[in-house]
């Protein structure tokens, strides 16, 4: 009789309670629901950060535990955003269109409604037809299913092709990067039917709920993100704690040996790759309604590399490490580029953080890789171990 997960892994318990406490405090302090000490824009930043933490967990699972350095998980994240964005955009536009057509002399025909929606959505990119891929955009349930299905299938097919032909190591990293680049270039095209470079915008406005102020909506999404992060953390912790976790760790450490032991390495890798892609997609579907706009630039290969950087700084092979890394780096980055960080005057030259933050990040990252390969999570571990002894 094994102990339940929460007791077996104290870090899970701690994390969940911290997350719950944090969520509760922020909600109580928020503009929409409580004391108004935390601004709506801060709620949105925090909510988005939680989504980034979730995708960082996915990244940690696939890289830190299974040893697959995927430089493509942001593609799944973005796709998730696109899928939910299609519904948000279509429905919002439909509401507007129905409102303006209601004043006509004759009631509108379905064709007229569709034409008007098409003109509204695609007018800015020089079109008016609704492409076939928007077929399900009218149905929330279908698009929610697509949030999981589209990135999941992409990951499944890509992973099957890649693992089958034994592409490993840096080769695989480059291949995932190529996939991401191909996807973002494809979406950059207008002909892809997802508004090209413009992407899908205005996603923060929920269809049918236009009267609800953003201060409330932002808290809803913040709570949803916290819930998803908690669930994601539990699932990931469960996956890595059992025998499955041992096998994937073994694949990371010595793939050939575990294959000789008779384990279907490719199948394990494929499961992890697809599962993490789905987690990433769900994170994206929660992230972009808070960001307000999803477009191909989000999917660019560099975003996925940054994701690896977060996980590395936070500490690989530790789920809380991924969370710490993602939260710390993205919040710091937001602070430094926000123009509020004080400049440092050095007499002849003033260090302006807007200019130098990237340098700091890059070099800091090199230092972490060199001297703290286990990242911040590793430092936490060391602290804990000292305490325990």
């Amino acid at each position: 009789m094994r102990k339940p997960l929460l007791l077996r892994e104290p870090s899970v318990m701690i994390f969940i309670s911290l997350l719950a406490a944090f969520t509760l405090i922020v909600t109580v302090l928020s503009e929409g629901f409580g004391l108004g000490l935390v601004s709506t824009s801060m709620i949105k930043i925090l909510g988005k950060t939680l989504c980034l933490c979730l995708i960082a967990i996915a990244m940690d699972l696939v890289w830190g535990y299974c040893g697959i350095l995927s430089l493509g998980h942001f593609a799944f994240f973005g796709l998730g955003g696109y899928m939910i964005g299609m519904w948000l955009m279509y429905e919002r536009t439909k509401d507007i269109v129905l409102g303006s057509l209601a004043g006509g002399a004759l009631p509108a025909t379905p064709q007229e409604i569709e034409d008007a929606i098409g003109t509204q959505i695609f007018g800015v990119v020089g079109g008016s037809e609704i492409p076939a891929i928007w077929y399900f955009a009218d149905s929330l349930a279908a698009q929610l299913a697509l949030v999981v299905l589209v990135p999941g299938l992409l990951a499944l097919v890509f992973g099957w092709l890649a693992f089958r032909s034994r592409v490993t190591g840096v080769y695989l990293s480059i291949l995932t990067q190529a996939m991401t680049l191909a996807l973002s270039l494809y979406l950059f095209q207008n002909d892809s039917g997802l508004r090209g470079n413009n992407g899908l915008s205005g996603l923060q406005n929920l269809p049918g709920l236009t009267d609800v102020p953003q201060s409330i909506v932002s808290v809803w999404f913040f709570l949803a993100s916290a819930l998803a992060l908690g669930a994601g953390y539990l699932i990931a912790a469960y996956v890595v704690s059992g025998k499955f976790g041992n096998v994937i760790r073994a694949i990371r450490d010595d793939e050939a040996r575990i294959r000789f032991m008779g384990y279907p390495v490719e199948a394990y890798k494929l499961v992890v790759f697809t599962l993490t892609a789905v987690i990433a997609a769900i994170a994206g579907a929660l992230y972009y309604p808070q960001a307000g706009i999803v477009n191909p630039a989000e999917i660019a290969p560099i975003a996925s590399i940054y994701l690896a950087v977060w996980v590395a700084i936070g500490g690989r092979g530790r789920l809380y490490g991924a969370v710490i890394g993602a939260a710390l780096v993205s919040l710091l980055s937001s602070w430094f580029t926000g123009g509020q960080a004080p400049s440092i005057p050095l007499g002849i030259y003033t260090i302006d953080w807007v200019d130098w933050w990237q340098v700091l990040l890059g070099l800091g990252f090199v230092l972490v890789t060199l001297y703290a390969p286990n990242g911040i999570g590793g430092l936490v571990d060391r602290l804990v171990r000292k305490d325990a002894s």
């Binding site: 104290p10 911290l18 824009s41 470079n197 706009i293 123009g339 509020q340």
Partner: protein
């Protein structure tokens, strides 16, 4: 043991949270805050940093004159890093955390579309200084750059009438502005009797550098004996490779003229222009425009930013927009958005090319259209200058927007259907 450790981590986390949450939220009453929302890093930094500097200069000058309403102006500069969602985030931050009274910013259309829902929700005010594709009139945005009828259409007329171009190559970067502009131009050219097969359209990605094939395609267009002209909406640094390839192919402006809508003095400063002499650009302002106001502006700019710096059209747009805003605030006696907005209509301010700009009720300016030929020193010879043209939010050359009109003063609507006499919608499309 375990609990102390838990407590310690919890305390650290709580501390971090509180510092993160409470660092902002203070406002001084004796200043008027102006948000500057231009990318200082990423791909658009190349164009937008100049506009940030322009704003800082204008604000400094205004403060030297005593500020506005007896208060000093304070610039709040943020960096949206050419990341479109970040524009929305930073705009919200500027309006709700920093409590700015007005924002000057954005360059690409997609960044504007990203900001639109936020400023419409929070009833903010944005001055957008770049030529754009039109088909929009938001209550909360003043468009100080050119609408298509103030740049693209006159330039096309110039091609048709002055250069006798019969076949058009519309080359653009693949994004909203070129797409919509080319759609309008295609329709316009067809209305002018140009056959569909005489219009060649090509889109390239941002930062495209391999132009040999496309230039060869354009040359091949001349095979049916018609004069070919290129209308370029190529954006940013992709232009450099394009012009280098044109020059290498030995295509002179007399053979195949190129008129660009996104190439100004700033872009040419990265280029040796001897081989580009005679190619064209259409703007509402050139540094070479002769007027005392312009001479003064250039002198101030060089003193502020450096002797080698040049001025360009979006800078003039900010110059006009900022001064109009100052005058509107003085007229309204407050920085309240709705009061300032009402005071903006009909505001007049001399632009740098010698005529007078007027803010129209559709939130666009009247602007003269200038066409310049590139000179070997990277400046433009102005070969055509019109009287100020009123900016048209909804183009007259597309059937679906022909019937639309924007008038925030009388009709209180940015999308008014003149046929059915109804306001189609109050919010903008984004």
């Amino acid at each position: 043991m375990k609990t102390t450790k838990t407590l310690r981590i919890a305390a650290a986390a709580a501390l971090m949270t509180t510092t993160l949450l409470t660092h902002s939220a203070y406002a001084e009453d004796d200043t008027i805050k102006i948000g500057v929302l231009h990318s200082l890093s990423g791909t658009m930094a190349i164009s937008e940093t100049t506009l940030k500097d322009t704003m800082l200069m204008l604000i400094e000058q205004q403060n030297a004159k005593g500020g506005v309403l007896g208060k000093k102006l304070e610039a709040v500069v943020v960096d949206p890093a050419s990341d479109w969602p970040l524009f929305a985030e930073k705009a919200r931050e500027l309006m709700t955390v920093q409590n700015v009274d007005v924002m000057f910013g954005c360059w690409t259309s997609v960044s504007r579309k990203s900001v639109l829902p936020v400023i419409e929700e929070l009833n903010g005010l944005l001055f957008y200084p770049v030529q754009y594709e039109g088909e929009e009139s938001s209550k909360n945005v003043f468009y100080t750059g050119a609408a298509p009828n103030q740049q693209a259409i006159p330039a096309t007329d110039y091609f048709l009438e002055e250069l006798g171009v019969e076949k058009f190559a519309l080359l653009g970067t693949d994004y909203v502005y070129p797409r919509t502009t080319n759609k309008i131009l295609e329709q316009y050219l067809k209305d002018k009797g140009i056959a569909a097969e005489d219009i060649f359209v090509n889109y390239t990605p941002f930062g495209h550098s391999d132009w040999s094939k496309i230039v060869a395609d354009v040359v091949a267009l001349g095979a049916d004996g018609k004069k070919v002209g290129v209308i370029s909406t190529i954006n940013g640094d992709a232009n450099i490779g394009f012009y280098k390839e044109l020059a290498a192919a030995g295509i002179s402006a007399d053979d195949i003229p190129v008129v660009a809508f996104s190439v100004g003095e700033e872009e040419l400063s990265g280029l040796d222009t001897t081989n580009l002499v005679g190619h064209l650009a259409a703007w509402n302002y050139f540094q070479s425009a002769e007027s005392p106001a312009n001479a003064e502006f250039i002198e101030q700019w060089k003193a502020f930013a450096g002797e080698e710096r040049v001025t360009n059209d979006p800078m003039e747009a900010h110059y006009v927009g900022f001064n109009m805003w100052v005058n509107a605030v003085e007229a309204a006696g407050t920085t309240d958005v709705d009061a300032v907005r009402t005071a903006m209509y009909g505001q007049k301010f001399p632009n740098l090319t010698g005529s007078e700009a007027e803010m129209l009720p559709n939130h666009h300016l009247t602007k003269p259209v200038l066409i310049g030929e590139i000179q070997s020193d990277g400046q433009f010879d102005i070969v055509s200058q019109t009287e100020p043209v009123p900016g048209d939010a909804w183009t007259d050359f597309l059937p679906e927007s022909k019937v639309l009109e924007a008038d925030w003063k009388e009709l209180g609507c940015g999308m008014y259907n003149t046929e059915t006499k109804t306001c189609v919608q109050l919010g903008s499309n984004y």
